[in-house]
């Protein structure tokens, strides 16, 4: 522990953020303004997500932090360390063991369960922002449910690329009412947003907005009748664990055009390798399914 208040933020701030979260849960997909605080990390590093996580954490929680699906990238490591130091909560890499998961750009492959909280880091919460620069106008459009413009963006995609080329931050309609930016997750993850048993919270620090999807909320990805939504992924199996249904990262391995595809969710991939699955370029993992992590 340290001299910081539990989870860094003072109690009044956490209360204010919890209020915003409650409002967000009550009105799914609605962007609730909140008084975002300066955090000891730069904007773009997940200041919104960190504040939401701090407001949700209790000492009994187990925290997992992922960045682009990985537990061991800079962003994930530094945020995990931050909460280890300021909250003293146990941390884990295993999706199933965590009660609070802060994520950047991915939803874990392992199905989430009731009682878990998934916190997203959001750079730009307004799905209409690049179509309509005026905040006053976008709020009005949300208020009056004028979402034709969102389809103009998809129309433009098809007109230029022959298909809906938006592959991340793919706009969704929540509970038949609000159009929402699901943060820059790949559209492969969009179906997992809908009907999830976990509570999903979205925090945008710089833009000072919080929004939420309560458990089992209905989320629909926008599309056209003749160009239906397609949660695409690279047409390969994971080269390490041979998984055929997970979201893959493409890794360039040499300057001869060599490449490999690996699960972006490192915990999922490792779990499969421990269970004995071996991909095209993988080597058998003999540490066994119950081996300690990082031993």
């Amino acid at each position: 522990m340290s001299d910081y208040n539990f989870a860094y933020l003072d109690e009044q701030t956490k209360r204010m953020i919890r209020r915003a979260i409650l409002k967000g849960v009550a009105v799914p997909g609605y962007q609730v303004p909140f008084a975002s605080r300066e955090m000891p990390m730069p904007y773009g590093w997940g200041t919104g997500g960190v504040q939401v996580t701090a407001a949700c954490l209790v000492p009994e929680d187990t925290l997992k932090v992922i960045d682009q699906g990985a537990d061991d990238t800079t962003n994930a490591v530094s945020i995990r360390k931050f909460f280890e130091r300021t909250a003293g909560v146990p941390v884990t890499d295993a999706t199933a063991d965590a009660t609070v998961i802060q994520t950047r750009h991915r939803i874990p492959e392992h199905p989430l369960t009731e009682g878990q909280i998934l916190v997203y880091q959001v750079p730009i919460p307004e799905p209409l922002r690049f179509l309509e620069p005026r905040e006053v106008e976008t709020r009005k459009m949300h208020e009056l449910e004028e979402y034709g413009l969102m389809h103009v963006k998809l129309y433009e995609d098809i007109a230029r690329h022959g298909q809906i080329a938006t592959s991340y931050a793919y706009p969704v309609k929540v509970g038949g009412r609000y159009v929402m930016d699901p943060s820059p997750i790949p559209k492969f993850d969009n179906p997992k947003l809908s009907g999830s048993p976990a509570l999903q919270l979205f925090g945008a620090g710089r833009e000072q907005r919080i929004y939420a999807l309560p458990p089992y909320c209905d989320v629909v990805s926008l599309d056209f009748d003749d160009h239906p939504f397609d949660p695409s992924k690279a047409p390969h199996d994971c080269d390490l664990c041979a998984a055929d249904g997970s979201y893959l990262d493409e890794v360039i391995v040499d300057d001869q055009g060599g490449r490999m595809f690996v699960c972006s969710d490192t915990d999922f991939c490792q779990g499969r390798r421990r269970a004995g699955h071996v991909g095209r370029l993988g080597v058998p993992d003999d540490t066994g399914p119950d081996a300690e992590r990082g031993a």
């Binding site: 034709g148 413009l149 389809h151 103009v152 007109a159 599309d223 009748d225």
Partner: protein, 271 residues
């Protein structure tokens, strides 16, 4: 010679009992200054009303009040909606905005105000369709192609952005974008301003054709008397925020009664 059978193919036009737009006592002030005051008129289906006057006479203020862009301080603007006549000033903003993208159209003087410059021509035309719930890409595309043709823009330009268009083409694109949902009332604010005379003539010709063909009503604000002479059935002359004279276009222009109208008509340069 026409036989009786031929005559019956032209159904007798039923007299329309109610005006499309009924404006009464509209007033808008900017602080102590009058924007427009005490404006009342009826606009009937299929009729084109011209509003002329010098700069600062309140004609654009009036148009903005009618189209719901400004809220008048007093008066009523009753529009004959599909559910019967409604005062657009007292209806909810949601209803008014729905009206604005279905039954109404607004053509800005500067096409840049009315177009999305970063969106292709097809997307611009399709926006209103998508706003009223069309969700079939192919259908939107066909309709956009059709409308580009009707405003004399080559179908091959459908995926170009308006920034690649000439001023006249941008203005025609704006018109297509507005008319695609089949509105009944078009507001036009100096639609030919800033265009050279030959382009102006073509645009007017096109507008006239579309208005007749679709049976549109229109309110056109301009300071160009030639435009209203060609286009408008009826004319309102404004000065210092008030209507000083109104009547049939030819009547007002050929036999102006009010001193200001006489001045206006006699100021037109002859070529």
């Amino acid at each position: 010679m026409m036989g009786a059978g031929e005559l019956s193919t032209f159904p007798k036009k039923k007299p329309d009992p109610s005006p499309l737009l009924s404006v009464a006592g509209v007033k808008k002030t900017y602080g102590a200054r009058i924007g427009c005051s005490d404006v009342s008129f009826d606009l009937w289906p299929g009729e084109v009303l011209g509003i002329v006057g010098e700069s600062g006479s309140g004609k654009s203020t009036l148009l903005s009040c009618l189209a719901g862009h400004l809220t008048p301080d007093a008066g009523s603007v009753v529009f004959d909606t599909s559910a019967g006549p409604r005062d657009t000033l007292t209806m909810t903003e949601a209803d008014r905005r729905r009206l604005a993208r279905t039954d109404w159209a607004y053509v800005h003087q500067n096409p840049r105000d009315g177009l999305r410059m970063g969106v292709t021509a097809g997307g611009n035309v399709g926006e209103r369709l998508m706003a009223v719930g069309t969700r079939h890409y192919g259908g939107i595309r066909d309709k956009a192609t059709d409308w580009l043709g009707r405003v004399e823009i080559d179908a091959s330009r459908i995926d170009d952005r308006p920034s690649a268009f000439s001023g006249g083409m941008q203005q025609r694109l704006q018109i297509a974008r507005n008319l695609v949902t089949g509105p009944r009332l078009v507001f036009m604010d100096e639609p030919t301003g800033g265009l050279d005379v030959s382009v102006q003539a073509r645009l007017l010709d096109l507008l006239r054709g579309l208005v007749r063909e679709m049976g549109l009503s229109a309110i056109i604000v301009t300071h160009d008397l030639a435009v209203v002479r060609l286009f408008a059935d009826r004319l309102m002359v404004m000065k210092s925020g008030r209507v000083v004279e109104q009547g049939l276009t030819d009547q007002v222009l050929d036999d102006p009664q009010h001193g200001y109208t006489q001045l206006l008509v006699s100021s037109v340069l002859q070529v």
